[in-house]
Amino acid sequence: MKRLSAYFCMMAILIIQPLSAQQSSLSSGESRGEPTQSVEIFEFNTLDKQNRAIHLARQLRCPQCQNQNLMESNSPIAKDLRLKVYVMVNEGKTDPQVIDFMTSRFGDMVLYKPKFEPRTYVLWLGPLLLIMVFGWLGYRKVKASIVA
């Protein structure tokens, strides 16, 4: 019984420690001249719009920290772009309109899924072509060995 409670104490310490470390790094991370607000409040007209806006913001890449999407990133630019997405959706803009705005300002790199256009044919069709070539080569090899 004693051992069990000691075990739980250890677990609790292990869990609390990373949490407190995270908090201290957060509070020291604020830089001068760039006031950061940690809580965002935005009211959508309808629940449908809210879901759509959040879904859209998750699909768009933060231009500053390229491994995070607009929802995940805490950079000021991601915060502003997130807000821009919310406002545009709330105004009744469709998803393609929002995506068009983002790519017209920040380029195609904000899209996690590249567009299908002549410039990206190699990207989209290349793997398919490779599979077909290897399939054909494999077929030839197997057929040759069966005949022999």
Binding site: G33, P76, G107
Partner: protein, 199 residues
């Protein structure tokens, strides 16, 4: 026999070629993060107040934000319509250390090369920004004040410092991310200007 040997080496050769192409593609983009989506297009319409002129600040360090606001003018896209062949739009902030490292070069461009440089002061405090200009000098013909980054967002600014090369109608020719210096200037900006002067 020779043919068979060649067949064995061929995959390795192809792999090596692939790696070489990839290495080349990676290194050739060094220095320039991504080309601006605005290349070939005008700077989106905006209206903003200007950062106050330097002579109004002078040595008076304690001038308040409201006083400075009273001295500022209203700016819009017409500042990019000039009789000069090109204008630089430089995005900077007083809290940005890299911007201060390129400040000297901007001063030289404005003074020696007679470049027309418009500043875009990004997410800054009016008094702080003016203090930088009064202590390091002001290379800008005018500076757009953008405290909440709305104008920068519309232009597609990713991080300071950024410098846009515009033609005399305010069309974006080129965007450079990072501090300017002589090497960058010669390598990226000069080629555009030779094209313009040849015309």
């Amino acid at each position: 026999m020779l043919n068979n040997k060649f067949k064995l080496i061929l995959p390795s050769l192809l792999g090596l070629l692939f790696v070489a192409v990839m290495m080349f593609a990676l290194t050739s983009q060094e220095g320039q993060v991504t080309p601006s989506a605005l290349v070939g297009k005008p700077i989106p319409a905006f209206t903003a107040s200007s950062l106050s002129a330097t002579e109004l600040v002078g040595d008076n360090e304690l001038i308040s934000n409201n006083e400075l606001l009273g001295n500022s003018a209203l700016l819009d896209n017409s500042i990019f319509q000039t009789d000069k062949n090109y204008t630089l739009l430089n995005v900077w902030a007083s809290w940005c250390a890299v911007c201060q490292s390129e400040h000297g070069f901007l001063m030289k461009l404005a003074a020696k090369d007679n470049m027309r440089i418009v500043g875009l002061n990004y997410r800054d405090d009016r008094a702080d920004a003016n203090r930088v200009l009064s202590s390091l000098g002001n290379p800008y013909v005018t500076t757009i004040f953008d405290p909440d980054g709305k104008i920068a967002l519309n232009i597609g600014v990713i991080a300071t410092p950024e410098t846009y090369l515009l033609d005399n109608k305010g069309i974006v020719l080129f965007r450079y991310s990072g501090a300017l210096d002589e090497t960058v200037w010669q390598h990226y900006f000069k080629p555009f200007m030779q094209l313009l002067t040849d015309k």
